[in-house]
């Protein structure tokens, strides 16, 4: 019995020592030494998406992430993650940064160290276009059945208004709920709504009405990471050099970019 106990203690000490060795280093140095910045993202036009028939990630965030990698002198690798697991992915070093039109909510700020905001956004209500007239005010929304991405900023807004909703795992699924008639309405990002619904898109019969709030996008790093400062410096320089606005115009998000 004593032997087993001693063995277990040894094992625990070895493991905790290994844990210590990892955490003391600078995150910036860690990424530079590794030579790759692993960016965690999801398929989220116009921030990160793939052109039909292409394997390369493009979008405002994707292009800026590549520029940031170049600035650091490392390669950039994109990993499509399960959005629910973003904090775990960061903490366990499966990825180095969450960069995907992420709304800076209290929850996000408590889980990671975030950059200064770079882009404005809001949550909007999406309904079928033929009934849109009836739902132009916040008061008119009660009685509708809603869908929203689990834990998203949209879900937070619905909770604040005291409206019930079905939680789904992506904003795209929330749109699908409305398109299929499973829910009357959903709440998603303004930027996404702008790009994904209305005429000439995949959801021509949907439209958005009420904007529930305004909020900001930021980039998330590991707690206490020195990459946050590196990012903020990079962004200021890129903004001054005009790179940020140029890229924004390519993807039609120039109206939302925050002035530096």
């Amino acid at each position: 019995m004593k032997k087993i106990l001693a063995l277990a203690l040894c094992l625990m000490m070895a493991l905790s020592l290994a844990a210590c060795g990892e955490s003391s280093d600078s995150d910036l140095a860690y990424v530079k030494e590794k030579g790759t910045l692993v960016v965690g993202m999801t398929d989220f036009a116009p921030m990160d998406y793939k052109e039909e028939g292409s394997d390369e990630w493009i979008g405002f965030d994707a292009d800026m992430a590549r520029a940031f990698g170049e600035d650091l002198g490392v390669d950039v690798e994109f990993v499509e993650i399960n959005w629910d697991n973003k904090a775990m992915e960061l903490q366990t070093k499966a990825i180095d940064v969450v960069w995907n039109g992420m709304t800076l909510t209290e929850e996000v700020k408590s889980l990671m160290s975030c950059s200064e905001p770079y882009c404005l956004n809001g949550q909007v209500v999406v309904v079928a276009a033929d009934v849109a007239d009836q739902y132009q005010t916040t008061e008119s929304l009660s009685g509708l059945s809603f869908a929203a991405e689990n834990g998203s900023a949209g879900a937070e807004q619905l909770e604040a208004l005291g409206l019930d909703y079905i939680a789904v795992d992506t904003q795209a699924k929330a749109l699908m709920e409305v398109a299929s008639g499973a829910s009357d309405a959903c709440v998603i990002d303004l930027l996404m709504a702008g790009a994904m619904i209305g005429e000439g898109t995949s959801y021509p019969d949907l439209t958005y009405t009420v904007q529930l709030n305004s909020e900001e996008y930021g980039v998330g790093f590991r707690q206490e990471s020195d990459l946050v400062d590196a990012f903020n410096t990079f962004w200021k320089e890129a903004y001054d050099a005009g790179t940020v606005m140029e890229t924004a115009k390519v993807y039609g998000v120039q109206e939302s970019i925050i002035e530096k």
Binding site: L15, S16, A19, Y49, I81, N85, M88, A94, T201, S202
Partner: protein, 212 residues
Amino acid sequence: MLLDVTLSLLEGFGVTVQMFVLTLVFALPLGLIISFGSMSRFAPLRRLIQGFVWIVRGSPLMLQVLIIFYGPGLLFGLPLLPRFTAALLAFVINYACYFSEIYRGGIQSVPRGQYEAGQVLGMTKPQIFFKITLLQVIKRIIPPMGNEWITLVKDTALVRVISVYEIIWMGESYIKKGMIWPLFYTMVFYLAFNGILTIFFGWLEKKMDYFK
């Protein structure tokens, strides 16, 4: 359009099939070893293995996948296994435990008299196991094994929680482009694959019909 979607789903299905085949390659032998452990006459070993099987069979496979991938990093700050490897490890452990119980059922269903007959003939224990018991065990476990294999094909859909891009992930990614049918189209792939498995197990059962 159909061709593009089919090709992209096939890519995902390749990952599904790899997960299926590799899980079987490792879990089938490991399950046999675990079943010996759970039948051991050395009580502490038997209890330990039974406890382990209880934990693995009694908790959701999805949690096991999450724990094996994120656990080392979250608890000890250790570097992570590659995503596919972590998912595979979770599947091998989980399925080995299920297989071990199927083996145990098969082995214990062989009548005691057969061991005794072997002993009378002067055969050693391994000789009795491999020459008398094993073939009968294989015959008896074919139906439950068929069940588990088919379940395994569908369980592989769980690995997308740690971003292993199997067929359901590929199907779901089309939803963002406004296409809903590719997700349901994945069902054709599962049905075709499980159809082949069903035919294979039917054939195997017939093949094993020689001793009744």
